[in-house]
Symmetry: C2
Subunit: 208 residues, 2 copies
DNA sequence: CCCTATAAAAATGTATACATTTTATAAAAG
DNA sequence: CTTTTATAAAATGTATACATTTTTATAGGG
């Protein structure tokens, strides 16, 4: 497992307090490597929002920022329906089948850990998005999703919301299957919006 | 000047052929530094689209890809009007004045080099966007703009298009000044679309 | 008592050296 | 002659050592 992944895991699990300043030396000692790989990992983490520059020296663990979440979901609301619409004409039975399999897998086991749910959730959408064959647009959407991961983290979604979310997933898939990409796009926009609101609520309750 | 900037400059000026594979060792020798700073610069350049991974080893100078341009401008068309709309209520006379100054400066000297024109063009929009005080959204828009830079490069805009572009800039600014942010957003969307089409045309003429 | 300037300490940036991994080359077997 | 495998070469990853920059602590002057 790469150092990048190890640090990200620890950030996700809240091993480092928000606001905490991390020095290259500390991290190198902590993970028992030299500062060179630390530099690489830190730079990548910075570019993905897991760490933020802290003046001229060092990096800091970013605090949870409701405004950042709002921005991320506003952008996803505009870009994801676009990407899905571009993908719609390219969807074939095989791709649609794989997407449905993912949804079924999420429903199959109600004890799935939050991290797994999150991974499957993205796998479903990504499966559809990839069909568009638009690497640049996909890369940006994926990056936005990664930035959201920091907030979603180990949030245990309520079973209630999970049911709603799955209903929306199936509705989107059904619309795509019958070739109604406009409806699918509009459903997706609402779906992203709802996810954003759900997350904002969770953050308010947690950070108040 | 940082190594990152130096390499970017050389990529912009076409010193490296598209498709060419660059080795850390080569770059280190070429710029007369060790491989450590090369690694840092290359990683950053990769994250901004100036270089692309080349399998497991080395990085390559990306070829010009019309589809990438289309994606970038599609995204900008959706995100920039959003950001400008969020900024609109926060705009004061001082900010609007600075924006107008930038436009006037672009008009003042018709012999301005292409790079300067591009910088002022972004300065105008960024000046308005910053007023929104939405760092995350701004950062993404800025990154998209940076990715476009590779294509805009040293494209010498036709004076004809430059005049059209300036007319659109003033129209946007006027709409904002009279508080009509909806019109301003719609003008901006068209403005970005026009810039994208202009660039696509330029690439068609240059590449095939 | 506060401010400034200077020196010490700490953190980051970079070079060199070494280790590991990948790719290319060449030899041998089919 | 082609394919496979073993060896060599090359490129990247990482550790250590050194240089530079920034921060902090301290002493002196106002």
């Amino acid at each position: 497992m790469s150092l990048y992944q190890r640090i990200k895991e620890d950030l996700l699990r809240g091993r480092f307090a928000p606001g905490q300043v991390l020095k290259q030396t500390e991290l190198a000692e902590l993970y028992d490597v030299s500062r060179i790989p630390v530099r690489d990992a830190v730079q990548q983490l910075k570019s993905e929002g897991w760490l933020t520059g802290h003046g001229k020296r060092g990096v800091a663990v970013p605090r949870f920022d409701p405004l950042e979440v709002e921005d991320l979901y506003l952008m996803r609301m505009r870009l994801e329906p676009l990407l899905q619409t571009l993908a719609a004409p390219q969807l074939n039975a095989e791709t649609l089948g794989r997407a449905r399999d993912i949804l079924d897998r999420m429903d199959a086991d109600p004890t799935l850990p939050a991290a797994e749910i999150g991974a499957l959730n993205w796998a479903f959408h990504a499966c559809l998005y990839k069909a568009a064959a638009r690497p640049t647009l996909f890369a940006t959407v994926e990056q936005l999703h990664r930035q959201c991961e920091r907030y979603i983290g180990y949030q245990s979604r309520s079973l209630d919301y999970q049911r709603t979310s799955q209903r929306e997933h199936y509705a989107i898939l059904d619309a795509l299957q019958r070739g109604d990409s406009e409806t699918a796009a509009s459903l997706l926009e609402q779906h992203v919006a709802a996810a954003g609101q759900q997350l904002a609520e969770f953050l308010r309750a947690r950070c108040d």
